[in-house]
Symmetry: C2
């Protein structure tokens, strides 16, 4: 029985206390990232915040990578909820209006939870490895919403193609939102972003309709 | 006369030596970022690489922010050259083919100069302030290419609208390219990116044509 299984098999009050400490640690990490981004994630500060010893952190999580992914999982669950709240806006028949509502909800989430959102994209694991299954599952839920909205416009695509197309659209919208918020290489005034998002989605949807209608 | 002007007014061999040191420092910073990303930019290592004392760095550049922007300027000049090499591909009349060539050149540059390209987008100044004019000018050159390619498809836009539209398209393409290379929240196999880029540009161009043709 390896160490992970051993931890999982713990039960009773001992396990409850560990879970409690672990949740407190994730909440501390989330607060640190929300305040100062990924550079604010320092083991010593986290230990103080969670009320555990420095060494005890590594009994609660494997490493800071896992801790960051746990925060990312929470961020994605919030994003998923924010995107879910606008689902069906604009009438179920109007895919263009639904996609605009989706893009605006995404932009709103990025503005509201700027550092947590940014951390999702900037995080690089100190020890690169595949994402754990629970993290991949949280990703998938976010994309499935967009796949469902997009599907009526691309009836000719199979499931794998639809998945890729929805992720590419997600990435395009993400790119436009990021450009307004970050103001790095790609600078555009934040107030222009909403108009550009709307123009972009309208153009993209018109293109899908045109290509779909072509012989 | 302030300190900056004083430095600028230096001339003769003294100035020549300073320029030489400064260029060596920028080359060292570029090599460091290319090898290990922004976290690899450490003053002590840079001083050793450039053969100057630690304190002398701050006679050559204002701070590490300025040094990073100088590297960014070089990266953008390379990007501009890479995008310029495919200009006119697909015939000057076929805007769709030109935009696909542009997007592929951008994806190729990002893959080839991954860390330098990534640094452009992840860099946050330790002392936030407006970008210097020479940096903004390097940005503008990259966008002007895309504006010129896009212009025939959006004849109704004025110059400011065209500028915003080109930057939004840049950001969308950037988003799709980044998703293949980074594999973070938005995961798509790298080999799917080319097909998605082509489908995306074709859809977007079809949409622009449809909207342009609408009464």
């Amino acid at each position: 029985m390896n160490n992970v299984q051993e931890k999982k098999s713990r039960s009773g009050p001992r396990r409850g206390l560990r879970e409690e400490h672990r949740e407190r640690l994730v909440a501390c990490a989330e607060a640190a990232i929300a305040a100062g981004g990924l550079p604010a994630l320092r083991a010593r500060d986290l230990a103080a915040c969670a009320g555990v010893s420095l060494g005890a952190i590594y009994n609660l999580v494997e490493d800071l990578d896992e801790l960051t992914l746990l925060v990312g999982q929470r961020t994605m669950a919030r994003l998923d909820a924010a995107l879910g709240r606008v689902e069906g806006r604009g009438g179920s028949g109007d895919v263009g209006a639904q996609l605009i509502a989706w893009a605006r909800a995404y932009a709103g989430f990025a503005a509201e939870h700027h550092e947590l959102w940014r951390a999702l994209f900037e995080f690089r694991m100190a020890r690169p490895r595949d994402f754990p299954e629970w993290f991949a599952a949280a990703q998938t839920r976010v994309f499935e919403r967009l796949e469902a909205t997009l599907a009526p416009l691309v009836p000719a695509l199979d499931a794998a193609q639809l998945r890729a197309r929805a992720r590419a659209l997600f990435a395009a919208v993400h790119g436009i939102v990021a450009l307004g918020i970050e103001g790095k290489l790609v600078a555009l005034p934040a107030e222009a972003i909403d108009a550009e998002l709307v123009a972009f989605v309208e153009t993209y949807v018109a293109g899908l309709r045109k290509i779909g209608a072509a012989p």
